[in-house]
């Protein structure tokens, strides 16, 4: 390629050069009139095999086509490796924005927040209170189990319920914490867990005296409390910045048997409660009524049962991924 003459006048790119092509030495030239105004100074780079001309748009926006004329010139073909569609570009923009946000996050971890200590204090207090509450429940239930044996199953609710009500009602704060960004964990799993547990506790168990003396209550409370006595201290320590490896391992492993078992206990509880709700018609609405609808609570519970299994399954996979992420490959080798 020799003597390249490249210029832009009135949005028209003029190209003229002498080159050695398939048919010998010739003068090659072409013109392209751009669809919209462009900067008059193109940037050119010459390599052995090709000449790159970069032309900049005056205004940054999407062009329907390159040239002002509707018919695409026959010699013009897009290089799809560099083709940017709006959707592609949006992906690129998103990636760039994510990078920026990540950088900002890393920078924002350097404390410039005046409330940082207040927030930490609050979180530590919250986790401590929950830990104490669930420890009380766990210890109480264990002691009673040793003393009374199987008989302790039947009045678990009467002795433990108040503390459980308190702890689970307080747990709603966890949703708030996630919502206002105080805690980095995702919102949806927290909402699902709090809603699921409180539904069982307040609606299914709380409203039916008959359910409260069933043995399944013991198992539900026991499984819930064991998981929590590992989870809350782990959060407390991570707030302070301490990591106690055995506790981390417990927190990310204890759920493997306990979470499905807890889900199973909840499912048994619901199955047992369905006939009672059917008979008593509690929370159900029959015709005639001004809303012209029938609500069968026992039917809703059956639907909930299906949702429970799906939820446990989905959450299990999420927790497993979390475990891999936090415990890392080293632990696997140790086992």
């Amino acid at each position: 390629l020799q003597n390249p003459d490249i210029a832009i006048t009135d949005n028209v790119l003029h190209f003229r050069a002498q080159g050695h092509g398939a048919k010998g030495d010739n003068i090659y030239e072409f013109q392209i009139e751009f669809l919209e105004p462009v900067e008059p100074k193109p940037v050119c780079r010459v390599t052995q095999r090709q000449l790159n001309i970069t032309v900049q748009k005056k205004e940054s926006n999407w062009w329907e086509r390159l040239t002002k004329q509707e018919k695409r010139p026959l010699f013009l073909a897009p290089d799809f490796d560099r083709w940017l569609d709006e959707s592609d570009a949006e992906m690129e923009l998103k990636e760039k924005e994510e990078e920026k946000i990540n950088k900002m996050k890393i920078e924002s971890r350097v404390p410039k927040d005046p409330f940082k200590h207040l927030k930490k204090g609050y979180l530590i207090m919250y986790n401590l209170v929950q830990f104490l509450g669930f420890s009380w429940i766990f210890v109480n239930m264990t002691v009673r189990l040793f003393i009374l044996g199987k008989d302790s199953f039947y009045d678990t609710f009467h002795t433990i319920a108040d503390m459980m009500y308190f702890c689970q009602a307080l747990a709603v704060m966890e949703i708030m914490n996630s919502l206002i960004g105080l805690v980095r964990s995702p919102l949806l799993p927290a909402v699902m867990q709090i809603f699921g547990r409180n539904f069982i506790l307040f609606v299914v168990l709380g409203s039916l005296e008959e359910m409260q003396s069933k043995p399944v209550v013991f198992f539900i409370f026991y499984f819930w409390s064991i998981i929590e006595i590992f989870r809350y201290p782990y959060y407390m320590l991570s707030c302070i910045g301490i990591e106690w490896k055995p506790l981390t391992w417990l927190r990310y492993t204890a759920w493997i048997p306990l979470y499905p078992l807890g889900g199973l206990a909840e499912a048994v509880c619901i199955v047992q409660s369905i006939p009672i709700f059917s008979e008593t018609g509690k929370f159900s609405l029959g015709l005639p009524n001004p809303l012209n609808v029938t609500i069968q609570f026992s039917f809703l519970l059956q639907v909930y049962l299906i949702a429970l299994f799906l939820g446990v399954f989905v959450n299990f996979r999420h927790l497993y991924k979390q475990r891999k992420h936090h415990l890392g490959p080293k632990k696997r080798k140790m086992k």
Binding site: R72, F80, N292
Partner: protein, 308 residues
């Protein structure tokens, strides 16, 4: 005169599915689809997605081969869209169902409310009114499907029809069950509530129809390009000043009025779901308008004036 050669590859496996020799430069993609169909009778043209780039958008029927950025040997990619069904067919099936299903409940077929109540009629005039309104709504939709609507895409995937029918037919049955039930309770505010609802219903239906006619007029000569809809002399179309998709606005209004008329929670639930679905569609359409037209009126919101 240069004749083109077209090779068509599978978009995933990149294996060559066909090689067309001596293709005219001014051949349209429609003609290429027909040629491909001859070689593969299973893949009729509506089912073929032909693209320049494996991950790109499907080429339109009207595109001409020599205007595409390809050399004289063009490489195109094929993707099977699955069995397709025409939009008109889909709408006809979707809308006829609720019409007849409602009648099953209105006339109290024996298998619905039991043998004791079979073929009885309700003492409440509002129940008759509700049947008239519901039927009117779906008959109007059927008429619009046949005479008014002009679709930009000819077909949709076949599995959509199962999903859509379940939704429309299922809800029609559920709400018809309660409205025509022997233990139905008429609206709490009586005639005032019903009359208000009827007037709102008629206004919204008229509005919805006006918008559909206005939109179809934009494509009067069979063109498939998008144009900005504008208000006309018809007062119902003046909603175009405030909203991109007033047909959806009126539709939601129709169902709200039906909910008020029947005072029935299942109808309310259906209205809510319709509202959510149409808001999603309206936002989509609104964004498309904004992208395609630089001079798009800035006052317009997608579905609710000034709000949403």
């Amino acid at each position: 005169f240069v004749s083109y050669q077209v090779e068509i590859l599978d978009w995933k496996t990149k294996e060559q599915l066909c090689f067309l020799d001596k293709v005219e430069p001014n051949a349209t993609i429609r003609e290429i689809r027909l040629m491909f169909h001859k070689l593969y009778p299973r893949w009729y043209p509506a089912r073929q997605s032909i693209k320049l780039d494996p991950k790109g958008k499907s080429l339109r029927d009207e595109e001409i081969l020599q205007h595409l950025p390809v050399g004289t040997t063009a490489t195109l990619y094929f993707k099977d869209l699955g069995p397709q069904i025409g939009w008109t067919t889909v709408f006809l099936i979707e809308y006829t169902g609720p019409l007849f299903i409602y009648f099953l409940f209105y006339f109290r077929m024996p298998f619905v409310y039991g043998l004791d109540e079979r073929f009885t009629s309700s003492p409440h005039p509002v129940v008759n009114l509700a049947c008239i309104c519901h039927s009117f709504h779906y008959i109007k939709r059927l008429i619009e499907t046949v005479f008014v609507h002009r679709f930009s895409h000819g077909t949709m995937p076949l599995r959509n029809i199962v999903k859509n029918c379940l939704y429309y037919w299922g809800f029609a049955a559920w709400l018809a069950y309660y409205i025509n039930h022997p233990l139905y309770t008429p609206p709490s505010y009586g005639k005032k509530q019903i009359n208000f609802a009827v007037i709102m219903f008629l206004l919204c239906e008229a509005g919805n129809f006006s918008i559909h006619v206005a939109l179809s007029d934009l494509r009067r000569n069979g063109s498939k390009t998008r144009k900005i809809p504008y208000p006309t002399k018809n007062p119902f179309t003046w909603l175009f000043f405030f909203v991109s998709c007033p047909n959806y606005t009126y539709e939601v209004g129709t169902w709200i009025s039906f909910t008020i008329m029947t005072q029935c929670v299942p109808v309310g639930l259906f209205t809510l779901l319709c509202f959510i679905q149409m808001t999603i569609w309206a936002k989509d359409k609104h964004c498309t308008y904004l992208r395609e037209f630089k001079d798009y009126p800035s006052l317009r919101m997608p579905i609710i004036p000034f709000l949403l």
